[in-house]
């Protein structure tokens, strides 16, 4: 096998080695959180977590568990580095972005530790490409301190219906208002744009509603520009969980099924918009 022979000599040096038969299982999920150029990689024995943040108000995480990889070995407790996500994705899709049936790109990702570049070895149809991407000092990622005990309201919806609602959102509205309540309107997405207000209501007994656990009426507003990138994750996912805690922080969790039917998760955390003006009902 071409991949293993190349690295045999120095394999013991590598702090992290991860292999995938289909690189798309990684690239697709990373594309869903690519709203900023840089991402922080955190690898543990559980797998890899990739984090992208924006204006200290939004954080997106993609989790690729160790079980997804055909080979996953890590020599330290945790390995963390920062890398240019756009460059990484360009390399992962170096053989072309579109999916050709029956043809997959194999990937071997190697990292030697602090200060070393991230090495990607990609192979498709007998052609091998080696990419070395410079890594950067990892930055502390925000801790939204979102724990399940603080969760006030939670719904799990099938992504199909939410996808349509999101694509029809009035983009002239600066905020997206989310209302969750044990009483009507149960779950409501509202926008306040140039033409007026628009609301999209999901009843608690809807077929699209898998889980409805709302204990208190909460209305929170989030900047539309921050939530817009989450639509990519929504389009990949089959289910989405929407939770708000006592501070009004929003957690969106997307369940994504990859090409091989394995489950990965993408998570978005968002702070509520500070300026709470008059709320149109």
């Amino acid at each position: 096998m071409p991949l293993s022979t190349q690295l045999e000599a120095g394999e013991e040096q590598y702090v992290l080695i991860a292999s995938l038969d289909n690189a798309r299982n990684l690239s697709n999920i990373l594309k869903a959180i690519q709203f900023k150029d840089h991402a922080t990689f955190l690898a543990t024995s559980n797998g890899i977590k990739v984090t992208v943040e924006d204006s200290k108000c939004l954080q997106a995480n993609a989790f690729i568990q160790a079980e997804i990889f055909q080979e996953f070995s890590i020599q330290e407790d945790s390995v963390m580095f920062r890398v240019n996500l756009a460059v990484l994705l360009d390399c992962l899709t170096i053989f072309g972005g579109s999916a050709v049936p029956g043809v997959t790109t194999a990937l071997k990702m190697c990292y030697n530790g602090y200060g070393y570049p991230l090495t990607l070895i990609l192979e498709e149809g007998g052609v091998v490409t080696v990419c070395k991407i410079n890594t950067q000092e990892p930055e502390e990622t925000l801790d939204f301190d979102f724990c399940s005990t603080n969760v006030i309201n939670k719904v799990i919806l099938q992504s199909d219906s939410l996808r349509e609602a999101f694509s029809e959102l009035d983009m002239t509205s600066e905020v997206l208002q989310i209302t969750m309540s044990p009483d009507k309107p149960y779950f409501r997405l509202s926008t306040f744009g140039n033409s007026g207000s628009a609301h999209c209501d999901y009843p608690k007994d809807s077929d699209m509603m898998e889980v409805f656990q709302c204990t208190q009426t909460q209305t929170n507003r989030y900047k539309m520009s921050l939530l817009k990138p989450s639509t990519k994750a929504l389009s990949l996912s089959c289910k989405v969980s929407i939770r708000t805690d006592s501070r009004g922080f929003l957690s969106l969790q997307y369940m994504v099924r990859n090409d091989d039917g394995q489950i990965c998760f993408i998570e978005y955390f968002c702070c509520p918009d500070e300026e709470v003006g008059e709320q149109e009902q």
Binding site: A165, E168, S195, A198, H199, C200, Y202, M208
Partner: protein, 410 residues
């Protein structure tokens, strides 16, 4: 005011909005006792479209007009076209997901509420702001036309597809046996550098081919495309009413529950000739297009202006002073205010020129839609006395040639 539209018709409503969006930026919404009228006019007032949905179209229809009253409608407004389009954004999924669409005026009376009841219990509510407006209604009589063609919309759509999407104007020439579609060239354009497309259709390709006057008209294709796409999806036969150049062409769709009319201005022969002459004698000036309107032969053109705000009474001719102004924007509801004072005409026309500039396409030779006489020639004389248009102030640099013409006709 309340209307409820059932499943399959929601898509028709959405398509109507989208096809009107090809004309202009504002949608005029007027619930009449005869049905819901959605109308639009373009900025240069040379294209108008109207969809009238009769009460049969709706699951429930209440125009809100007091019964037996003089007023045909209790409420009329205009909204931004984009706002209404947002309600019917994903056309393709409308018939699959939407079960019902309700249109109401909210209790506060300041928002028009479009509520879509969708599958799985999902409800989408749009509270749109609107502006109260006067009615938008040109006067045209389809029975007054010499030529009437009727065909399946597929035929016209297939013809139009051969013209580049950027093509603005198309020329349609008809004889007893056939009709020819040709792209229209501006005088300034060099024919040898342009691609010329010409298509001929035989009379037997039409469902009905009635030609009493062999003529050729030129109109703007862009605004028509919106109607063609609607017509194709509805499968209703499309009728075309026209005769001499200068008189607006009417495209209509008829159905028991829906009446569609698109009225487009056509280039008049006279304008084309004078423009060519003028081009030879002096270089075209930026203001030429505006001067044309002012120095138009007012007497032979009726300003067809009516607003239903006037109610059952006949359209009243407004004070002559305001005629000049309405010559520019005949579709506006200037008439209803009645008490339009005659301002210093000089300043008015200047103002109009400025107003007109952004809206009017440069160097366009189109007559404003409502200049064309829409009454048949023989009744023109009788109505002449009603609408005595006096040109009270000539534009200072209007063609002396044209002035002579006017005095001759008066």
């Amino acid at each position: 005011m309340r209307c409820v539209v059932a499943t399959s018709n929601v898509k028709v409503l959405g398509k109507a909005v989208h096809s009107l969006s090809r004309i202009g930026d504002e949608l005029y919404f007027e619930p009449l006792s005869s049905g819901l009228a959605l109308r639009c006019v373009n900025s240069s007032r040379s294209a108008y479209g109207c969809f009238l949905f009769t009460p049969l179209f709706f699951q429930h229809y209440d125009s809100g007009a007091p019964p037996g009253g003089l007023e045909d409608s209790s409420f009329r407004c205009k909204m931004g076209m984009k706002s209404v389009q947002t309600v019917f954004k994903s056309l393709s999924s409308l018939d699959k997901t939407v079960e019902k669409c309700e249109i109401d005026l909210n209790p506060g009376g300041n928002r028009l509420v479009f509520q879509l009841h969708c599958k799985y219990g999902i409800t989408k509510t749009h509270n749109l702001s609107f502006q109260e407006s006067e009615s938008l209604q040109p006067v045209f009589q389809k029975d007054g036309y010499a030529n009437v063609l009727r065909a399946q919309p597929r035929l016209l759509a297939d013809t139009v597809v051969h013209f580049p999407p950027s093509l603005e104007e198309v020329n349609v020439t008809v004889s007893g046996e056939r009709v020819q579609f040709r792209n229209h060239l501006e005088d300034e354009q060099d024919a040898s550098k342009m691609m010329l497309t010409e298509m001929s259709l035989d009379a037997d390709e039409f469902e009905s081919f009635q030609v009493r006057e062999e003529t050729g008209i030129t109109f703007c294709l862009k605004e028509l495309r919106g109607l063609l796409s609607f017509a194709e999806s509805s499968g209703l036969p499309l009728s075309m009413y026209f005769d001499q150049p200068g008189r607006p062409v009417v495209f209509g769709l008829d159905d028991p529950v829906l009446e569609v009319n698109f009225v487009l201005a056509t280039l008049s022969d006279e304008e084309t000739t004078t423009h060519r002459e003028r081009n030879r004698s002096r270089p075209p000036q930026a203001d030429t297009s505006h001067d044309d309107f002012l120095s138009d032969d007012m007497d032979s053109y009726m300003i067809a202006m009516e607003t239903s705000a006037v109610g059952g009474a006949e359209a009243q001719p407004c004070s002559t002073g305001s005629d000049q102004r309405r010559a520019r924007e005949p579709v506006s509801a200037a008439c209803s205010s009645g008490s339009k004072q005659q301002r210093g005409l000089e300043s008015e026309s200047e103002e109009e020129e400025e107003e007109e500039l952004p809206g009017t396409p440069p160097q366009k030779r189109f007559r404003s839609l409502f200049f064309g006489s829409v009454l048949s020639p023989y009744s023109q004389g009788a109505n002449q006395t009603l609408r005595n248009q006096e040109v009270l102030a000539e534009a200072s640099d209007s063609d002396p040639e044209e002035q002579e013409e006017e005095t001759a006709k008066k």
